[in-house]
Symmetry: C2
């Protein structure tokens, strides 16, 4: 009998009990109850403790049964060994949801995981938060089932929901949000996250009228994948800011390869999240900064054509430096704008963007206003960034910015590199809805994070796909791999698998120069001397063949095709499913770690966007030093992805390098891994 | 009759006059005087204003002459047109130094520059700050010749001197320093910096007993060069933190080259500063963070073996992520340490570094203390980073950290990702000398900035060297350039300058494969089709020669030498003098912008260090995929530098690429620019 969204009953109960309620604020259970008792919550609160009559002004009950009224949610603040009995009581009494504070479960390893599994069984159809949860707060209804200190300082509901696996990160984030003047609608700490699904939480906040931005602080790749799945299904209903901690969380069992060494990396979660339009940030300061922009409707596009102004030339230059580095851009000013600025600015102030008002801005405080008004009339200016520093009293300046905000059709973002000793200025700005940044570097990092989220197209739904087949998979030899790719329309260099005798003849037919390799299924054979590159004639070929044959392997001969080198792979990630990886290849793959992952299936446009973000892709796209073949490389990626989707017995394909030369992209080295027993299937 | 250091008379005068003193705090001159009057300064203050008897409780004088007592420093708070007359009066009366507030000089262009030159003449032997200066504060003596609002909130002298060209950046920096609990010894705003030299300022602070760290906020490359020169002469007496704003300040007129396009970049100032051991930062937050560490004697070495602990697992993981990305390192724990930790920690807490105390740290508040004490006894742990989050009251925790500080032989650096509502905690930490960071990202960025400063050897003094010879320089053809380098012992690929007829013969003598180029003095001929690579035989050679000859140029033939590609250049920077540049070469030079500059002369160790910081250098050094030749590349750089120093008519040499293959490094493309008329000298 679940609600349409079970989160409703979890976070918005009409009544709540707290079992194990304590009178001591030195205990978690006491702190939670005392905080809850002081809140605005209008539902009934039932403390349960057989040794107390009253706690924090609330009548206390000896047991859940003794309450005698419907209880919708139960906060269980008892040690782990007593939790199953309370859950059984809850189910018997029709309690629909619970928060489990006790630790001692999956975070402690195998025995704890077993206990946690029992807990999930004991909860049955109930929805719950935890175990090892620090609770939650519903600030819309004033319900505090937690003791996070910042929340009590917030008088009303805000518009930002935070969901955190970690209690500590939630404490940190809520503090920094409060410092930035951002009020919360909900704060949910899931702890071990064994109960309520993050997909349900995200959908709840997508549908919640108060919430404008959802902030997710996540440790698990699997939860990131859940969030991506919701966005694929429902679209990006609201901005989502994601901080994923733990940069190599999922070990990826995979045939030895460069793909394998990179696929266990944080980049996979980052790229999958960004592909779905989530704003992926690196630290709490970026999470708060992006939230402060997004809740005011300021998005990546606002960073493209900004205008800035300041009385401090030094701060203008510092900000310009950061803008130049980040890919943000100062808007070119229209002629009308320039003419109007020329009319209001003294002659010695240059009409340009950013505008350095010089100390004249102190002499004539109306200059800032006039300048902002004129800049905001320019059709190409999307956002205006006034920069102020430190003063004893900034109220007049802040009031003037606040008064401008409704009058101009552009958002203001204040870069306040300093502060003031009056107590009111931050409140004036918050009231006016003006986001404030204290660091130029942070401001541009936030715009960069927002820009990296690709919201230009709806992500495609992904097919169910088996994960890595593990020990059941075999890696084809180089020759078989190349043949497989060729049959599937993926461009490869011309090649021939050869026996001891036919080498010279095959080379003559391919045309020199050629490459001779041992035809094995290892990716690092260049390290072990199993490859001879750039063989120019029959004599060199004979030498090379002699040497490689001595090692006992059969051989493969291919065109020598120097060029710019890419890596291109497809594989099934255990959490994120089918992915394509591409980036700088050959010796640069590991040195730069410069790869992008794209969830499959994806459009050619998505491959092009990913490739452009890598160094080698940017070189090809910009055609540096006559480089060409960007489109050919994208077409190759598209063919590779199709080949993978069409052959569901294929576990992994790595091509490294693909060389791009004279407008053509072809794999010169490839390794295909398939489920054992199917490898020869289509050859029959 | 200058003092040993003229800054003494500027910043520490025994008496001070302020000409143009106003009664209105709405005017800069009034704000300065009112601030000065409230300060602790024990010298005489003489306001000068013919229309006032008394200002802010001080007797006011109608003119400098009317004072009738010795005046050591004069703050000139009058418009630009009256400044020369006041300076003349000052000199007549023996005033030794001045601060010039008026703007309207070199910042406005040519006419202003002329006025500024006149000002310098008018000042004669006097030392002065400005023009366009916001003044200075000497907090050791309590003298405020400025109205920066934060300074009055500082009760006593601090230990950090800030020198800023920009007034606005000084306002910002002093605010953020105050927020971080860092008190200043001096704050100097030089404005247009036409008077006192920054070399003198740096030496003054090197010798000042109160100052522990010097922070320089600089816009001009020339001033960075002055600071570097002082360190070369005197050594790095104290830590210097440098924020250089304006990332492309010096245009570098240079023969068209990759070197030229990169040498106008901020990287030159960065690398020269770091080579001298200055800590080069990117924003004010890093400047404040590095200062907070360095003033406590915490340096780059402290980042190598840190230990961390927290009750918040999420924050531990977040910090670990940042540490992994930055090249900082968690110390491996000694066996004794592990055994002792096992004794105090509950069984379910893993003994590892960083230590996640879990919520057990709340249950038993002594755990943090015990853990820190044990970690601090570990010989390999250099620094301990406790991580705390948000609480209503953190006094007990902060007091406990403060009490530990004198007891343990290791610095604590607190990562406080949050805050508290008690007012005392920050003060307790500041009193105990514990630096506090609110962001893991900022903490690791600060250690990275400190590590990039190379203090492992005294920089070499640099020879005087003429700057670029500009129009008087000629660029040699490829063949002449290669011949010049070869004569000077710089390894180059085998080559031959050829006439129309001798091509085939020369190729046979060099051995195929070969490269044929037009023998011209352009660096981008590969863009224009003037190069044919990888010619395999006489037929291909004939085709190539036919094609290139049609273009009308003479030809140069060389070995085709594929390999890993470096760029290596030497040139005279107009500000920083002789420099060597190296980094990733060929197509990667512009795509990665991955170059390092080394001031010449320098040791081979300095070249090795610079090369290792580039991607290609790291590949060579780590021997990825069998790459070798790092030592050969360093030897080539050393030969190139010697060649440049030995030939003082050489203006620039660029070799791009140098290829490294089979342990050998050789230039395959080179361009030498020399002063006209000397090019053929040694050939004679």
């Amino acid at each position: 009998m679940k609600n349409p969204n079970p989160v409703q009953t979890l976070l918005c109960p009409r009544s709540i009990a707290i079992v194990g309620a304590s009178s001591s604020v030195k205990k978690v259970s006491g702190r939670i109850l005392s905080t809850m008792a002081r809140g605005r919550y209008s539902g009934r609160i039932f403390p349960v403790n057989p040794r107390a009559e009253e706690l924090f002004g609330l009548r206390c009950y000896p047991s859940l049964d003794a309450i005698g009224e419907p209880v919708e949610h139960c906060v269980i603040a008892l040690p782990a060994d007593q939790v199953p009995q309370v859950l059984a009581d809850c189910r018997r009494l029709g309690v629909r949801s619970a928060t489990i504070i006790a630790a001692g479960y999956a975070e402690l390893g195998e025995e704890g995981s077993r206990l946690q599994a029992e807990l999930v069984d004991a909860a049955g159809e109930m929805t719950f938060l935890g175990p090892n949860s620090m609770g939650f707060a519903n600030l819309v209804d004033g319900l505090f089932a937690t003791s996070v200190p910042t929340l009590e300082h917030q008088s009303d509901s805000g518009d930002v929901a935070i969901v955190s696996q970690s209690g500590g990160l939630a404490y940190s984030a809520s503090w920094f949000m409060a410092q930035a003047g951002i009020d919360l609608s909900y704060l949910v700490m899931s702890g071990n996250a064994a109960g309520v699904s993050f997909a349900d939480l995200l959908e709840f906040f997508f549908d919640d009228a108060k919430t404008r931005v959802v902030v997710m602080l996540i440790e698990s790749d699997a939860i990131v994948a859940q969030l991506v799945e919701v966005v694929e299904r429902r679209g990006l209903v609201k901005p989502v800011v994601l901080l994923k901690v733990g940069r190599g969380e999922t070990g990826v069992a995979m045939a030895k390869s460069h793909t394998g060494s990179l696929a266990g990396d944080y980049r996979v979660a980052r790229d999958c999240a960004q592909h779905a339009g989530l704003v992926f940030v690196d630290d709490l300061d970026e999470a708060v900064g992006c939230t402060s922009l997004l809740r005011r409707g300021i998005t990546a596009a606002n960073g493209d054509d900004i205008a800035a102004l300041s009385v401090s030339g030094g701060n203008v230059v510092l900000f310009s430096d950061q803008v130049d580095l980040s890919g943000m851009r100062f808007a070119p000013l229209a002629e009308t704008t320039q003419r109007r600025l020329r009319e209001v600015l003294p002659e010695f102030i240059a009409v340009q963007n950013p505008v350095d008002l010089t100390t004249q801005g102190y002499v004539d405080p109306t200059l800032q206003d006039h300048t902002i008004r004129i800049l905001s009339d320019d059709p190409s200016v999307t956002t205006i960034v006034p920069i102020i520093t430190a003063a004893a009293d900034y109220r007049a300046t802040c009031q003037s910015l606040a008064a401008l905000t409704p009058a101009i059709g552009r958002p203001l973002v204040l870069l306040w590199t300093g502060g003031s000793y009056d107590a009111e200025s931050p409140g004036i700005l918050a009231q006016a809805g003006i986001p404030v940044f204290r660091s130029a570097n942070l401001l541009v990092r936030c715009f960069r994070a927002m820009r990296a989220a690709s919201v230009d197209e709806a992500p495609l739904r992904r097919p169910a796909r088996t994960a890595n087949a593990g020990s059941n998979a075999v890696t084809l030899s180089e020759g078989d791999s190349m043949a497989f790719l060729q049959r599937n329309g993926v461009p490869v260099a011309r090649f021939a698998a050869v026996q001891s005798d036919g080498v010279a003849q095959a080379a003559a037919s391919l045309g020199y120069p050629v490459v001779l390799k041992q035809d094995v299924s290892e990716t690092h054979i260049s390290d072990s001397g199993g490859v001879v590159l750039d063989i120019r004639n029959a004599d060199e070929l004979a030498d090379a063949a002699e040497r490689l044959r001595r090692e006992g392997a059969s051989l493969i001969l291919s065109q020598f095709r120097p060029g710019l080198e890419l890596i291109a792979s497809v594989f099934v990630h255990p959490v994120f499913g089918p992915l394509l990886m591409t980036g700088s290849g050959g010796i640069w793959t590991e040195a730069l770690g410069d790869v992008q992952f794209v969830p499959l299936p994806a459009s050619a446009a998505a491959f092009a966007r990913a490739l452009k973000r890598t160094t080698i892709g940017a070189i090809l796209h910009e055609g540096r030093r006559g480089a060409s073949g960007f489109d050919a490389a994208v077409a190759l990626l598209d063919r590779l992805a199709r080949c993978f989707i069409d052959n569901d017995d294929v576990v992994q394909i790595e091509m490294n390098p693909v060389t791009v030369s004279r407008g053509e992209a072809r794999a010169v080295d490839a390794s295909v891994t398939r489920v054992a027993g199917t490898a020869g299937r289509e050859e029959r």
